[in-house]
């Protein structure tokens, strides 16, 4: 088991290292991630949402639907904990 796990870890790590070859350096301002979609958020956030904090405007407006989903995740977690842990009189006696 442990050996298998070790093999799996090694393989995954090797894959990741292999992938880094083609990745932009750290903090490279011209990496595709930084030039394709995100500039619009920074440039338009004030005139479109009147919110200087780009993160907030993206979280709650541009990608607000994701945020609703994640709030739902939290809600789910809360309900799940109640569902799983709540004990009741009948099964306390058992």
């Amino acid at each position: 088991m442990r050996f298998l796990a070790f093999i799996a870890v090694i393989i995954t790590g090797a894959l990741l290292i292999y992938a880094t070859v083609d990745m932009p350096n750290w903090g490279d301002p011209n990496s595709p991630a930084n030039i394709h979609v995100s500039p619009r958020y920074i440039e338009k956030t004030i005139e479109e949402t009147a919110t200087p904090n780009a993160v907030t405007s993206v979280v709650a407006d541009y990608r607000g639907y994701d945020t609703m989903g994640e709030t739902t995740v939290i809600f789910t977690a809360g309900i799940v904990c109640i569902l799983l842990l709540r004990r009741h009189k009948n099964d306390r006696q058992t």
């Binding site: 949402t49 009147a50 405007s57 904990c81 709540r86």
Partner: protein, 151 residues
Amino acid sequence: MIGRLDNVVIQTVCRLLIPPIQLFALYVIAHGHYSPGGGFQGGCILGASFILMVIAYDIKEAKRMMSEKVNTILSSLGVIIYSGIGVVCLILSANYLDYGILNKILPVTIAEARALGIFGVEVGVGITVMAVMVSIFLNLASGGEHGETEE
């Protein structure tokens, strides 16, 4: 699990600390537009203040202030606020969560309407996060013992 520990120092310090913590939490939620912050962060801080109280006093105390039922209602209330705002946009014949349309019912420009929408959403998120944090903590800490058995 968490028994009652009668330590005057801790309790007094907490009494002093908790109000500013909660005030700060509200500030973080409200000021998310202009500074780092927002619903999650503020909600977490708010929840933390309650958790601090639970640690300082004990679970009975905490439940007097925030019962399980209230917790559950709050946690769903927050999400309902969020999705409700979206539904309002739907009713105003825009797409879901398209806050811009809110300027039909509010005397503001589209951009400001969006800002308001963001604020409302953040509040909803904050409520849910706070309530869920507390309820998860209470459930885990007490192994579900404290939950009042609903009829």
